[in-house]
């Protein structure tokens, strides 16, 4: 495998990691207006992702940095071409980042409500726009012969790319619910499972529609054979079906594994359809950016390969460790009956 192809795969892996990890903390953010019944439960939801969301967002920083280092032309064209979309993503992410830190820094219901809402809007908006942006890599944008983006903001919106955004929102909401199902106890946990059941079929249908359409787009817009994309799409479909089945069977651990695999499959299907292009040009297909014409110099690729060989495994080790450290379920009293709920409440009062 050439270094260019290796880095194409690595960037796909980093985006997959970003979707897998930040996917559930985006999902938890989306569920904030519907799932919790009181401030305490909202606090629990924040606490379930509090120690890890920052580490999850690191994967985005790495994805952008790796793209700049390995495929500078891809980075330059994509980031300047998707200007407004990325600007909106930045704003949404900034508001979301500060919402974590600031929400608890002052009492008062209005302050907390504001920052809780900010977190939800940030999560929903950023998810939709990342789905839209990545789908555009494959769906194609107008580039000229020097690979400069010649379209405008609205060129990024098509039925396919909008579906990508919506499917990703549904998938992340489901992913977030299945995360809460394995990270919380009691009422909140039960409600997370119920929410997951309610969403799972819709998320599955949207997800399957997206990956199937991706295989078609890869064929039509990127002259790819149907098979490689369809293969990855099939695995993703299986993961989505598994997510529904495990959610209904109340197998929370497996359900989370299935939604995680679906999030990875979302990225993997796009990248399988994309190779050897990195950014498809449409209508002038010949102007597309490929792994070879967008790549950095060989020496630079060698250097960053060595760095990645050391620090990617290390990253996996210490981030796994953080999940191990914060593995304990949050929340209390497994309330199942109204009587137990009263007992639980009075126990809290006396405590």
């Amino acid at each position: 495998m050439s270094l260019e192809t290796l880095w194409f795969c690595l960037i796909a892996v980093v985006w997959s990691g970003y979707f897998l990890l930040e996917g559930f903390d985006f999902g938890v953010g989306m569920l904030l207006p519907v799932l919790p019944h009181d401030e305490r439960e909202r606090g629990l939801m924040f606490e379930s992702i509090g120690p890890v969301w920052d580490g999850n967002e690191v994967w985005l920083v790495i994805a952008a940095g790796a793209t700049f280092a390995a495929f500078p032309a891809w980075y330059a064209t994509m980031f300047s071409g998707f200007y407004i979309v990325l600007l909106l993503i930045l704003l949404l992410l900034i508001v979301r980042v500060v919402s974590f830190e600031w929400r608890e820094k002052r009492d008062g219901p209005r302050w907390r409500t504001t920052w809780t809402l900010a977190n939800t809007i940030g999560s929903l908006g950023a998810t939709f726009l990342w789905g839209l942006a990545l789908a555009n890599l494959l769906h194609g944008v107008p580039l000229n012969s020097s690979h400069v983006f010649t379209g405008n903001f609205f060129d990024l919106f098509s039925a396919y790319t909008v579906l990508a955004g919506i499917a990703l929102m549904l998938l992340f909401a489901l992913h977030g619910a299945s995360y809460l199902a394995i990270r919380t106890l009691g009422d909140l946990c039960i409600r997370a499972q119920t929410a997951a059941r309610r969403m799972s079929v819709l998320a599955m249908l949207a997800g399957i529609a997206f990956v199937a359409w991706t295989a078609v787009v890869a064929h039509n817009r990127n002259s790819r054979g149907i098979l490689p994309t369809a293969l990855v799409a099939a695995v993703t479909t299986a993961a989505l079906l598994g997510a529904v089945a495990f959610t209904y069977a109340r197998r929370s651990g497996w359900a989370f594994a299935a939604t995680a695999l679906s999030a990875v499959g979302f990225v993997a299907t796009i990248f399988a359809g994309l190779y050897p292009r990195v950014l498809v040009s449409h209508p002038s297909f010949a102007n597309s950016l490929t792994v070879s014409n967008a790549a950095s110099a060989h020496y630079a690729l060698k250097i960053i390969t060595i760095v990645a060989a050391i620090f990617v495994p290390l990253l996996l080790v210490y981030q796994s460790w953080t999940y191990y450290v914060f593995r304990r379920r949050l929340g209390g009293e497994p309330v199942t009956t109204p009587a137990a709920a009263v007992r639980g409440a009075s126990a809290r009062r006396t405590a």
């Binding site: 920052d54 980075y75 407004i84 600007l87 002052r106």
Partner: protein
């Protein structure tokens, strides 16, 4: 078309300047406060004296409020090279700039962000020793992160380890790139700035509590630690800043000539402390000036008889080499940026020295006049840092990469004035709002009494009955 294009350049420059200066208001405090908090936690770990734990939690909260905005605004910086400077991004696309950024994200930022998350929430989840290790790892990672960013920036100031192939700068030696002496000096300069930020903020906050006679015994310790750091660091910074200036003189003569408003080559050269007029080629001689003989020669070259090239001579040389054009940065702005930064540097050293003297005489907690000065001085490192970056970046103009690529040729061709104008407006509004809220929160938490041991989330030493409560809540404090 030309005036339109120059508008995109101007707007993009203005946006980059605004967002990076803003980002750097938060970065140095993290660079300095992270190791200081780590030291305080280490002191608690060693002595089991609860005072250090309380101070760790107190300054830890300030660190986290500050860190959050640093992270959020850092992402903007990483995206902006591609969004607004795509021609630049392509030009440096052979690894000279992207590689250090990628290494930073993978080998430093990832560690810093992950371990700081563990530190915040990990008080009750691991052994005290392991928990102490997490803050040290995070602090160390912030320093490595700063190095890689400065390697990237220094390549723009003083390109090394590359060759230009097909109009692109390709990395040829990663060793040369990483050991760029510009980067080493800039890093030492920035790390010292960080430690000065951390210690001056700690001193100012402690003095605020002295002034109100609150928690005096506790903040005496904080003030002592702050002074132990501030006195040597401010002193060393004066000398490092000077060395850095000498390196700039040899690589970026124009920057130094402009910051000294030195129109014509001189030997020996006096250092102008203050002047009125003398900031344009038409009016090269100041009407009033105070000059120290030979000092500039010594600062720029290390010899009291050194030669410093003037703006006019450098302009002629550059035109010969790179064609017609204006190669001078904005002289008046450079001159005053340099002086603001340097004078604040001296002022911070004096404040730290006087503070240390008062502390030795056991008068620090009583000297109300000094406490007021120390509170005002919290602003000094911030102002110095702003002008430091204005000097560094605007002093390089018209180049985006010194002698290789001009800023005017580096912007994204696909952006329009309307787009960049919109994003600039949005960033300014958002950043102003964030700045105001951040300031209010920082002030509020700096004025709180440090939490008592035994409160929720006070760590392994405390009995924590309710593990659910957010570990950083200070309710009841």
């Amino acid at each position: 078309m030309i005036p339109l294009a120059s508008t995109v350049v101007d707007l993009s420059r203005f946006q980059f300047a605004t967002t990076s200066i803003y980002h750097f208001l938060f970065v140095p405090l993290t660079l300095g406060l992270a190791p200081l908090v780590a030291i305080m936690q280490t002191l608690w770990h060693r002595t089991h004296d609860d005072a250090w734990l309380r101070l760790t939690r107190f300054f830890g909260t300030l660190l986290l409020i500050n860190f959050a905005i640093g992270v959020a605004t850092g992402l903007v910086q990483e995206f902006q090279f591609g969004m607004n400077w795509s021609v630049y991004s392509n030009f440096v696309g052979g690894g000279v700039f992207g590689a250090p950024l990628a290494i930073e994200s993978l080998a430093a930022f990832a560690i810093e962000a992950t371990f700081l998350g563990v530190w915040i929430f990990g008080w009750n989840h691991m052994s005290a020793r392991l928990h102490l290790a997490t803050i040290w790892i995070a602090a160390l990672a912030t320093w490595v992160s700063a190095y890689m960013i400065l390697v990237a920036n220094s390549w723009m100031q003083h390109p090394v380890g590359y060759k230009v192939v097909n109009g692109k700068a390709q990395l040829t030696s990663v060793g040369a790139l990483l050991s760029n002496h510009f980067a080493l000096l800039a890093w030492v300069h920035v790390i010292l700035a960080g430690l000065i930020f951390g210690s001056i903020v700690m001193l100012g906050v402690s003095c605020w509590h002295f002034l109100r006679r609150r928690n005096v015994e506790l903040f005496q310790r904080a003030a002592k630690l702050a002074l132990i750091v501030a006195v040597p660091m401010t002193l060393i910074q004066l000398s490092v800043g000077n060395r850095f200036g000498a390196a700039v003189t040899s690589a970026q003569g124009m920057k130094i000539a402009a910051s000294e408003a030195q129109w014509n080559t001189c030997q020996p050269c006096g250092f102008s402390l203050f002047q009125i007029g003398g900031f344009s080629a038409q009016d090269p001689n100041p009407s009033v000036s105070i000059t120290i003989p030979r000092l500039l020669s010594w600062m720029a070259t290390g010899s009291f008889n050194g030669k410093v090239q003037g703006l006019n001579q450098l302009q002629a040389q550059e035109q010969n080499k790179y064609g017609p054009g204006n190669y001078m940065p904005r002289v008046e702005l450079m001159y005053w940026s340099m002086r603001t930064m340097a004078m604040l540097g001296v002022a911070m050293f004096l404040i730290a020295a006087v503070g240390a003297w008062l502390y030795r005489k056991r008068r620090l907690e009583k000297a109300r006049w000094f406490q007021r000065i120390a509170i005002v001085a919290i602003a000094f490192p911030y102002i110095a840092a702003i002008f430091g970056w204005i000097l560094t970046e605007m002093g390089r103009q018209p180049w985006i990469v010194q002698n290789l690529l001009k800023t005017s040729q580096a912007v994204s061709p696909s952006t329009s004035p309307a787009m960049v104008g919109t994003s600039l407006g949005v960033f300014v509004l958002l950043y102003l709002t964030l700045g105001v809220v951040d300031f209010i929160l920082m002030r509020r938490y700096a004025r709180l009494d440090p939490p008592q041991v035994g409160e929720p989330g006070m760590g392994a030493a405390a009995a924590v009955p309710d593990m659910v409560s957010p570990p950083l809540s200070y309710e009841g404090a």
